[in-house]
Amino acid sequence: MSGGEVKKIMFTVRKAPHGSIYVYEGLEVKLIMAAYDADISVVFMDDGVFALKEGQNTKELGIKGFAATYGAMVDYEISKIYVDRQSMEERGMSEDDLLVIGEDEDTEEPIKPQVVDAAEIAAMMAEQHNILVF
């Protein structure tokens, strides 16, 4: 690693969770990368916000669901999980619709992805070394 600096790696999730494998295989990458020494953040935007919708059921699609696996990101200590406010609003989603992805170790309060706006996302993107798109 150059200069011993911890790399800042952001994942963007922009596709719907089902109908293609991008989002699922992207989740696999996040969980692997969490084991390495990198500063990881994840942003759900565009149709990617549907991946965080509570109450997903893939039974009738005949495919394996993975919404529950998002909780593993928190278990693997990925704490910077964001969702774009405008993308949610455009798709009729509110913060109430978001999946619970873990609970606070101390307070046992449920953890949900943090809602941010485009300007905040842009500022975070500007700081990244690498951005992986899924």
Partner: protein, 118 residues
Amino acid sequence: MKLAVLIYEGPYNHEASDSAYNFIQAALARGHEIRGIFFYHDGVYNVTKLMEPPQDDRHIAKRWSELGAKGIDIVVCIAAAKRRGIVDDVLVPNVRISGLGQLTMMAIEADRLVAFGD
């Protein structure tokens, strides 16, 4: 600059594979280092030796193999490959199957990771 390249799409069906190849050639010509090339999603189909395109077309798997022969580390994701029936026996030379940890190392060690695909 030290670059890593991530390719999401299969060959021929999508331009991503060609764009990535052209990008790598241009980067090498300008003296940049390619830290590695990683095939993910349907990208794993890029490096099967079973591929046999018409003679007047580009041979995508052969192109990757030639880059590998130059010493560039070319890695096919094992999880994505297993889903799609890509195993060691069907790979062109100079390419290896390994895990997402290799992608992670590329992302950490490269100055920029450039992804090609939808």
